[in-house]
């Protein structure tokens, strides 16, 4: 029978399990423990009870990073759910050359975020192409500080996230659209339903679970936002670090010069709560969905 020797299954599991334990489970437990200490990169490590968590409450930089991160989720998710769907509907139909357009729209996904961030730094700078277009259309007289104003920097980063993610979610939607029954569309067309009406009456209800899934995926990704803001701000997090996300703040506190590992661990757990919170929110939403249907 399978598994004649007791040790055989474990021999198969050892490499994978070792990585999971050493680089995920133990560090997670360690993060929990460290969050109750004053551990630093060099020295420290005394148990300080809830001190780090009390400090969180008074730390304006933490609340700003949390606010930026939540704002990121709230702004980015609706765009990520809607825009790629429209894009997928547009490229779904087999027109001559459509394969080329699909590939082009997917290209930003293939590029790394650093490359995309640098490309948009050049586009959005005060001498950049975007400001030139806006000025030549007389929308503005002075260049807009997309990268120099903390608020605008955050919104620019959100734009870059959406721009890079469009193709990724488009592909997921394409797979979902392929499962929408063609007969329903045909029948509705014969009955004289317009394309827009068919979209809302047939397409959207069929692919609702996919929309929810993309909502979850893009929300979780947005809670962990880092590279976009980092690259657009050349690593600074905007003027005075005002556009920092939680992950940026964790990195600066825990891995920066101060090396406040204990405090960074407490912030990490706050991030964990945010991420898990969004996951649970969407799981509940999908349960409700099932009950309705």
């Amino acid at each position: 029978m399978i598994g004649r020797h007791k040790s055989v299954p474990w021999l198969f599991l050892v490499p994978g399990l070792a990585i999971a334990v050493v680089f995920f489970l133990v560090p997670f437990a360690n993060t929990l423990v460290l969050s109750f200490t004053d551990a630093r990169a060099l020295g420290g490590g005394q148990f300080t009870g809830l001190h780090n968590y009390a400090r969180l409450l008074d730390d304006a930089a933490f609340w700003l990073a949390l606010r930026n991160t939540l704002l990121y989720v709230v702004v980015v998710v609706p765009f990520m759910v809607v825009l790629p769907l429209l894009l997928a509907v547009l490229v779904e139909k087999e027109l001559p050359g459509i394969g080329f357009f699909r590939a082009v729209f997917y290209s930003p996904v293939v590029a790394s975020m650093v490359v995309v961030g640098l490309i948009w730094s050049w586009m959005l700078g005060s001498d950049g192409l975007v400001n030139w277009v806006l000025r030549s259309l007389s929308v503005v007289n002075e260049p807009i500080g997309f990268l120099t104003d903390a608020q605008l920097l955050l919104f620019s980063a959100m734009f870059v996230t959406v721009w890079k993610g469009l193709g990724y979610y488009m592909v997921i939607y394409l797979a979902a659209l392929a499962s929408v029954p063609k007969e329903l569309h045909e029948a509705a067309r014969v009955d004289g339903a317009t394309a827009i009406r068919r979209f809302f009456a047939i397409t959207v209800p069929t692919i609702r679970p996919t929309m929810l899934l993309i909502g979850v995926l893009s929300a979780i990704a947005a809670t962990k936002i880092f590279a976009e803001i980092y690259v657009l701000s050349s690593g600074s997090g905007g003027p005075g670090g005002q556009a920092r996300s939680l992950v940026m703040y964790i990195r600066e506190v825990g891995l920066g010069l101060g090396g406040e590992i204990g405090y960074a661990s407490a912030i990490s757990l706050a991030l964990f709560v945010v991420t898990i919170g969004f996951s649970l929110l969407f799981i509940r939403a999908s349960r409700g969905e099932e009950e309705v249907s």
Binding site: K6, A20, V21, F23, F24, T31, S268
Partner: protein, 301 residues
Amino acid sequence: MSTAASTLTPPVEHAPRERPPHRRGPSTGRLVSTVIRYLLLAVLFVLLAGPFLWQLSTSLKGATENVFEYPPQLLPTHPSLDAYAKVAEVIPVWRYIGNSLVVATASAAANCIFGSMAGYALARMRFRGRKVAYFAFLATIIIPFEVIMVSVFLTVRNMGLVDNLLGVILPTAVTGLSVLLMRNAFLAFPRSIEEAALVDGAGEWRRFWSIAMPSVHGTVTVVAIFSFMFAWDDFLWPLIVLKNPDNFTLTVGIQYLSGTFSRDQRVIAAGTMIAVIPLIAGFFALQKHFFRGIGEGAVKG
């Protein structure tokens, strides 16, 4: 990129299949909607490919051209490859590419081999502790890496792997996702074929390697591609682990380039093009398979 794009353009697909005669007839409405579709496609092309093309154009501008010119010059008037040569002078770009290749290849290989082994054990073998092992892998998917990165850094530091590519590779060498993907692939593969091999007296390892593995090669390919792409594009973790600019991977190195040489936009642009052109070219070469695979997945699902 216009020349590259035209050679990479897939051959124009055969004319639209003939449609069954339509009740409203081959109306002008249909023609108008097709024209509108192509117009939208063209606008989106500008929005999504335009920034890449602008970066390419900037990278090709000669040293005598003012890249900040107002109004901007869309195409280089004195095209030159000088900026590309300069990238290699400012940063050891070949070394960075080599480092990224090492990291991405090692990550892909480890995820395929060790992920398959663990997935096979979970799918095929009965032993005490199987549930525990399964949940251990599941937990690694639920815990975001960003939450534990400070502690993982301490672990890597204690192992003496700071500034070492091995320190970049190890934490994602076998992800829970790879393990569970492989487990599901093995579960979907009929057991009877393996059982036939068992009669022949094949050992566990041979059964796994010679019989089970070849039958799940589709999933192995998916794991390989995704592990490779993830490791190649990753930025945050290599930024944390690698300190010495000689050891950077390409993503960290390109970001570093933008800091050291922020004066010359041409060189930064050339650096990003070096990083992105191979990926986009490779993707365009394989895109037919890519989108077809998606269609198949949908049919199965």
